[in-house]
């Protein structure tokens, strides 16, 4: 777990080599530059906070590093801490700024220049600036900053050559003289001038690391820099005012509740129709049943029976009920892959459009109830793609408290694309009432657990502060590339795990242990959950991946209410192995273990309670109402027993102030 006031960390990447660091405000196109320079692909999307880790690659004899976007160098939150350490150890910085709001972006530019590192500035998105009537005098800007300034339209490849040509001319720019003198003094104790600057600006990590106790001058330095940037801005930018165009208007409609909520509903409905109905039904029906079960499986079986008897142990493992080359392949490629591709395609489109930050603004209020702010909707939505990736995305949340809540809710309640696809497939075949039942159960768990965590975890969550980027038409090439890369990653990750899972099940079955295990678990599965005893298989498979477990459910014949109980239990059940590993990486060992075990308890508790309630009422709506009532009681109890939250007004803003 990272400490809040992080001390500077020495980089391992590119040790002893020349480091070129890409830095800039969030969402300005840094990753597009990175992809161009290194020939790699890191995610590019239209929301602030896409890159949350350092990616590195090679460009000529440089090690190039992509950093998370930041509005200034300091350690207000995780992204900033990560970016800070990399930028301070850079040999050269390519600072990318957004032509649409230079007066904001140049603050960071001046701050980077103040650290004394050689800089080249790329003014990106000049296409959008031009469209909005913004004119920039680049020569003048270059003069004012004292470093090379190059205009660019990175997504169209314009200006990239020029930026590359300017890199060798990177130089230390015009610094604030007074400040430079002070840095001279402080830098005698610190490793470099950058750290000295940040120490002066009150960066706690650096101050404690070097035992600097001199009074911090953040406010003074910041205001000074702001004033200077405003002057530069005035002298280089001229604007001809233009009316709002369609995309700006669309952007307004998306956040205005009267239009925004219907838009959100329409988007969700469209997604349901596209993925839940069309892909999960028609497409998967074709790929799974026609192609894989109809042609592929009989074909391999036909070949293999010639060599290995179907009754032998090997035969069973390879192409028996849970066969490695039959069931595993059908599940991954026939059933899950189409769903995963469809999901990523949809999510990538959303990511590229600039819609997500607007959903964040729209849902902020609701998320406040579960101890999060609107920003958390981004990892929660991305969780429907892949919970593992979304868990990493929680880094864009400002406090440890929010990360803890979001990561647990992701692991507990959010089904990933593969799982969701299977679930929708199963639900689509039963009555709508039961679908509602499933959705309401999961939703009430999400709300109840979130509210309880909000009450019980000390501290207060941070407030929303997010920029709303322009709405853009998603670029098909980027959407396809992202979909392709992520889907491929899914197959690569899922295959070995699925193979492992089916191997496990087959071995248990062949050795007769599966039967014994099913009998041993019968009190739980049959007695408590009211499911057939074979459902034990599902949970064993679900240990590896929940979608694998859910896929197993698809092949069982269950009464509608049994399907709902089984689906709810498997949804809440442990996150997949990959997610668990990430949770262990992002949180402390103890916390991760507690989270993992809690999902077991909650899953079976909820499944059982629902089963028992339904057995009692024999009716959907009473069951759901009783269940929701129980949840409300729990939340109420947690409110009574946890201490009251202290005054909140003093503690808005960022990271450290919301810690316990």
């Amino acid at each position: 777990m990272t400490t809040c006031h992080g001390a500077p960390i020495k980089l391992d990447i590119g040790k002893g080599e020349q480091k070129l660091v890409l830095a800039g405000n969030p969402n300005v196109g840094k990753s597009v530059f990175f992809n161009h320079l290194t020939g790699m692909y890191v995610d590019v999307s239209n929301y602030p906070g896409t890159t949350l880790d350092i990616s590195h690659g090679r460009y000529k004899d440089w090690v190039v590093m992509d950093t998370p976007g930041i509005y200034g160098l300091s350690s207000f939150n995780d992204e900033e801490r990560i970016a800070r350490d990399v930028i301070l150890q850079a040999d050269k910085v390519l600072n990318i700024v957004n032509a649409l709001h230079l007066e904001r972006d140049l603050f960071l530019t001046r701050q980077i220049i103040d650290t004394g590192v050689p800089v080249v500035v790329a003014v990106n998105m000049v296409d959008e600036a031009k469209r909005r009537g913004i004119q920039i005098n680049f020569d003048r800007l270059q003069e004012e900053l004292g470093v090379p300034v190059i205009p660019s339209v990175a997504v169209k490849g314009k200006g990239l050559k020029e930026v590359e040509a300017a890199l060798p001319q990177a130089c230390t720019g015009r610094v604030n003289q007074e400040l430079a003198a002070e840095i001279d003094t402080v830098s005698q104790t610190t490793a470099n001038r950058g750290e000295a600057l940040l120490a002066l600006e009150g960066d706690e990590g650096i101050r404690t690391a070097y035992g600097i106790s001199q009074k911090d001058k953040r406010e003074e330095i910041y205001l000074n820099r702001r004033e200077c940037v405003n002057e530069i801005f005035q002298s280089v930018v001229t604007e001809t005012t233009q009316g709002a165009n369609f995309s700006t208007k669309l952007g307004y409609w998306m956040v205005r509740p009267i239009t925004g909520i219907p838009i959100l509903a329409a988007v969700l409905y469209f997604m349901y129709q596209l993925i839940g109905v069309w892909v999960a039904g028609d497409v998967v029906g074709f790929t799974e049943e026609t192609i894989f079960q109809g042609y592929y499986e009989p074909f391999v079986r036909g070949i293999l029976t010639g060599f290995i008897s179907p009754d032998s142990i090997f035969g069973q493992i390879l192409y028996g009920e849970f066969g490695l080359v039959t069931m595993t392949v059908t599940y991954v490629l026939g059933l899950l892959l189409p769903l995963v591709v469809a999901f990523y395609f949809f999510l990538s489109t959303l990511e590229d459009s600039g819609y997500l930050p607007r959903v964040a603004a729209l849902t902020d209020r609701v998320l406040n109830y579960i101890g999060l702010n609107g920003r958390a909707i981004i990892p929660l939505i991305l969780g429907f793609g892949c919970v593992t990736l979304a868990t990493i995305t929680t880094r864009l949340l400002a406090s440890e408290r929010e990360k803890r809540i979001a990561i647990f809710l992701l692991g507990l309640t959010i089904p990933c694309s593969a799982q969701l696809g299977v679930i929708t497939g199963i639900l689509a075949s039963i009555e709508p009432g039961f679908v509602l039942m499933y959705v309401l159960i999961i939703l009430s768990i999400l709300i109840a657990v979130g509210m309880i965590m909000d009450r019980v975890i000390p501290g207060r969550s941070s407030d929303l502060l997010i920029e709303l980027p322009p709405i853009r038409l998603p670029r098909l090439a980027n959407v396809l590339k992202k979909t392709g890369i992520k889907s491929f990653a899914f197959v690569k990750e899922a295959f070995p795990l699925f193979a492992l899972g089916s191997l496990l099940i087959s071995v248990l079955q062949v050795s007769g242990a599966l039967n014994a295990l099913q009998d041993a678990l019968a009190p739980l599965t049959v007695g408590w959950l009211g499911l057939p005893k074979e459902s034990a298989n599902v949970f064993i498979m679900g240990l590896v991946r929940r979608d694998f477990g859910a896929a197993g459910l698809a092949d069982m014949t269950l009464a509608p209410y049994q399907a709902v109980v089984a689906l709810a239990t498997i949804t809440l059940f442990v996150p997949c192995v990959a997610s668990v590993l990430v949770i262990f990486k992002e949180r402390s060992k103890k916390e991760a273990l507690v989270m993992w075990l809690s999902t077991w308890v909650i899953a079976f508790l909820v499944g059982g309670v629902v089963a028992q309630l339904y057995a009692h009422f024999e009716q959907i709506y009473l069951t759901v109402a009783a269940f929701a009532g129980l949840m409300a009681l729990l939340v109420g109890a947690s409110m009574l027993f946890s201490r009251r939250k202290t005054d909140v007004s003093a503690q808005s803003a960022s990271c450290c102030h919301s810690e316990q």
Binding site: E103, Y222, R225, A361, R365, L464, I466, S652, S654
Partner: protein
């Protein structure tokens, strides 16, 4: 008057920000004391969306309550 009780469509001048951390962030965004912004949208009981030139920011309700403003014209 605070940003939280401003009205959609108003142009307001930031007069004061209590919390030092919020103040630091505001300076970076270029919405520090003395700057003017337009109130783009107010989501009931939710965030206030302000606009300065081509930059739009959604500011959480609690933070908005911490930001003092005066009306321009």
């Amino acid at each position: 008057m605070t940003l939280a009780n401003s009205v959609k469509g108003q142009t307001v001048c930031i007069a004061g920000i209590k919390h030092p951390m919020v103040r630091a962030q505001a300076i970076r965004f270029g919405i520090s004391e003395g700057e003017t912004v337009m109130i783009q949208e107010i989501i009931p009981a939710g965030p206030v969306i302000v606009r300065k030139k081509h930059q739009e920011l959604a500011i959480g309700r609690k933070m908005a309550e911490d930001i003092q403003i005066t009306l321009v014209n």
